[in-house]
Amino acid sequence: MAKKYTENELEQDLKNKEYEYGFYTEIETEKFPPGLNENVVRAISKKKNEPEWMTDWRLEAFRAWEKMEEPDWANITYEKPDFQAISYYAAPKKKPELESLDQVDPELLETFKKLGISIDEQKRLSGVAMDIVMDSVSVATTFKETLDEHGIIFCSISEAIQKHPELVKKYIGSVVPRTDNFYAALNSAVFSDGSFCYIPKGVKCPVELSTYFRINEAGTGQFERTLLIADEGAYVSYLEGCTAPQRDENQLHAAVVEIIVHDDAEIKYSTVQNWYPGDHKGEGGVYNFVTKRGIAHKNAKLSWTQVETGSAVTWKYPSCILKGDNSVGEFYSIAVTNNYQQADTGTKMLHLGKNTKSTIISKGISAGKSQNSYRGLVRVSKNADNVRNFSQCDSLLMGNECGAHTFPYLETKNPSAQIEHEATTSKIGEDQLFYCNQRGIDTEKAIALIVNGFSKEVLNKLPMEFAVEAQKLLEISLEGSVG
């Protein structure tokens, strides 16, 4: 008789799957000693040669943060980070020129090769302009010329503060105020770098803009700040992908992403997040506390697509403020948790304008002893007539020790709203696996097939080259090496 392959063994196999991107690049870095106070905030600002208004902006954020408490309403449990034990600045010492890849540190190029995303190949095959963020400082930017021709600004936020202060000043904190929440305040005080993108009126960005973030230095938190603006009638598809090397201690990540979509404009924001999730015992892994929010003006459209496979703890709710009449908000999400990972993620659709529409498709996949929660708010304000929302939340469970939770919140003050919510929970069963096995498909491949099928509606929303990578990540996150 064939070896009995039970769900328990399946779980065991999943546990044994090592983090495949767990390597560490040795690039010399300059790093602040641990600790946070006003002087550290000033030092960060000075290091980056920022104008005074920026320093003051950070300091106000810091003072607000000092009086705030960490939120504890999410369905996650973790040891609260010691914020004085974290170093708040690390930058590669070598700052290569940005004109050619030859000038980029070979170690860095090697890192990208390991990730299977060699910049060369990306450039050649997909026409994607990359702004690579490694330990908080941008080190390579390509396709600059194409973007320049269209008047598109795509650079690090540090550079934007120097070169386009009027734009940064106008928009930073306009969607996520400094005092919005504990982590947003912290980010506002200490953000080290991030991306800035401005698409001028009427311009359709001809390439997909892509940024790879990596946390690469033990013990440093990463505080990315991203600001995207599509002016009237503009369009851009923006991709952000993340992996991080394996670390034993927890790493804190508190990013802020702000998006402004002006009248008749559209922004598609896609992200793949694959930071180190911790080992099978639940040790290590990234704490991912992210605030992502966008505002859509008249006839504008904002679409969030996320594939979340990494991090030990995820707290993230990419949201849409549908301020303008006829604006559209979308949220497509796949969240995978395995071992002891915890994710509390979802969205907020805030309908302020008339005839605003939103769609929420959330796919949660839980394995091991993980906990996966969807938390979503749909709010319709009094003057928002004829609002429509459709929400669908599906959960897929693998094994008996994991959890899937759904927390939908609905607040409507306008009776004309049409709101639909659907939710399903299913389980990868021995029946499905046996059926696949009987057709000659091994268990590992069968799981990949079932998970990809389950996630299809969201994978289809990703740009092509990203979808392929996302599928690979789903497989890496869930497959066991079945013996």
């Binding site: 008789m1 064939a2 009995k4 096995n437 009987q438 057709r439 498909i441 268990t443 079932i450 099928g453």
Partner: protein, 245 residues
């Protein structure tokens, strides 16, 4: 081809098969009939390698190779196919994608390259036509929301695509109306060659009006109690299973 000797098997310590002897040669069609609870499904599951069942005694070989040492997917690579009584749904995975994955998994295991896309499409078109499946059906999620008849036709479609050495049809007639039954039977008959074999497992004889067996075995309480030609099926239908006991 398939040789089963003194096979004892059960589930959770309870013996269901109590010494099965069965030999199926290339080019033959065998039918196993029996009342509910006689062990029909256990037998098909054990041949396919389902893990819930434990073999306690006996042997089972396919072309001289010990099947019991092989995982279910490895048995499939060797040419064992089972048409499920209750085919399983896989939402989001199209029938086309599923069968493509299955065929290429088998080819990989046998050391061949993936089947070229054009060849795959041609084959899919041919076999779909044989089973009277239209193309839109193949782009629906596998068995997801399929009617009983659609599921069974899809099973035989997969059989046609995979070209197994030994096909086990487990209660393939259940849930089929007479037209669907004819289509399915016609498909199976077309696929029959002198090099493969079919094991039909059924409660009723009506499928055997269309798929004519060379041998009929009657299974009762975990043992084959009578073997005969196709006329045995008719006799059983007439007299009922009580007659055997």
């Amino acid at each position: 081809m398939l040789k089963i000797k003194d096979l004892h098997a059960g589930v959770e310590g309870k013996e269901i098969l109590k010494g099965i002897n069965l030999e199926i040669k290339s080019g033959e069609i065998h039918a196993i009939m029996g009342p509910n609870g006689s062990g029909k499904t256990t037998l098909s599951s054990v041949i396919a390698g389902r893990e819930d069942f434990e073999v306690t005694e006996g042997s089972m070989t396919l072309d001289g190779e010990n099947l019991m040492e092989l995982e279910p997917d490895e048995r499939a690579h060797k040419g064992v196919f089972m048409s499920f009584q209750h085919p399983i749904a896989i939402p989001g995975v199209t029938t086309t994608n599923f069968i493509k994955t299955a065929i290429n998994a088998k080819r990989k295991a046998l050391g061949f390259d993936e089947m070229p896309a054009a060849e795959m499409l041609k084959k899919i078109r041919e076999k779909a036509e044989l089973l009277g499946l239209d193309r839109s059906f193949l782009s629906r999620s596998l068995n997801d929301g399929f009617s009983g008849g659609e599921k069974k036709r899809n099973e035989i479609f997969q059989m046609a695509m995979l070209e197994p050495k030994l096909a086990i049809l487990d209660e393939t007639d259940s849930g089929l109306d007479i037209d669907a039954l004819k289509t399915v039977a016609n498909g199976v008959n077309t696929l029959k060659t002198k090099d493969n074999a079919i094991l039909v497992i059924t409660h009723y004889q009506r499928l055997l009006d269309y798929i004519i067996p060379d041998y009929v075995h009657v299974l009762s309480d975990g043992k084959i109690v009578k073997t005969g030609g196709k006329e045995l099926a008719l006799e059983l239908e007439e007299k009922g299973y009580e007659w055997i006991k």
